[in-house]
Symmetry: D2
Subunit: 104 residues, 4 copies
């Protein structure tokens, strides 16, 4: 499994820009913008005033990819290894679980 | 001071729609969409890749008004009195302060 | 109606801090933090895994007030007049409406 | 490269819950909550009133992983293939680029 490859994709792509990455607060603002676009899409697909049939998730998929891209920009700009962060999170989840069962 | 009048503005305006208010989660999604638009505007005004001079805050003002409108929809739909919530918040702030000075 | 009084409340309260207002991107990050808290509250009240009865909207009211406070910080720091922004928004809505009926 | 493995991690982990996935709007609310936590962390690391030295990005890494987890829940619940969405996004970016150079 490799978030590393995804981070590398982003690093190659952004290497053409100067600066390659914005400061963290600006990347965050961009992230908020994209989460907002996902939110709109979710209202269009699943809200009271639906504008699209629920199967048309293609645009939602694209919005999720955009968000992951932006998260990779943030991670890359701060030298964060997402594979490691992912493993640590999953390990924490599993340990919490193991403990829960042990207590039964 | 009166957030009440603002809530009333919103209530009158939305009374033409059916349903008058969406369920809370859908209003929240709408809120996120608008917070995202404000975020974009802030990047355009104050970000590394500025697209507008900093004085042009008119659109930012409009985004803030949109967010307040959406918050009023949420409050109205749940019979929340924002004047009261505001007073309670300010009272809490002031008491915390009073205590802080007392401790000096 | 007066968002002006609310902005004044915020200005008086924050006048004790240095700097009185953070830069826009930092206020925006704070706004996101508070919108996130509202989101959690909405899941607790109206989500699949409810933790609170729906009538307990007091905390939700407090979160909305917090968000409005943060929006006022942003507005104050950029000399934005929210009463005016509100009036302009409502005027735009009403004109759009008037036109819609005229077209019938 | 494989977002597929990450989606599978999430699917295995969540398979112990009923329902396995919340409705989209509730996952979105959760996403907003986590973006809010990332925002707080960014203010603590890079804001005017820093509370942590900038090198301590471990918690930020954890917040990013949480957000990706939540995005995978949303994708899984709607049968979205994130590898494909990622490829489509990168292809779109590269084509746009190719065109840009061609126009020179």
């Amino acid at each position: 499994m490799s978030l590393k490859d995804i981070q590398k994709d982003v690093d190659e792509w952004t290497s053409q820009f100067t600066p390659q990455y914005w400061p963290p607060h600006e990347i965050l603002a961009r992230l908020m913008e994209e989460v907002g676009e996902l939110a709109r899409e979710i209202n269009h697909l699943y809200g009271t005033k639906k504008k699209k049939p629920t199967e048309e998730t293609r645009e939602m998929a694209a919005e999720i990819a955009d968000i992951i891209f932006t998260l990779c920009c943030l991670a890359n700009s701060q030298k964060i290894d997402l594979d490691r962060a992912w493993q640590e999170m999953m390990t924490k989840y599993r340990e919490r679980d193991a403990q829960r069962y042990a207590k039964k």
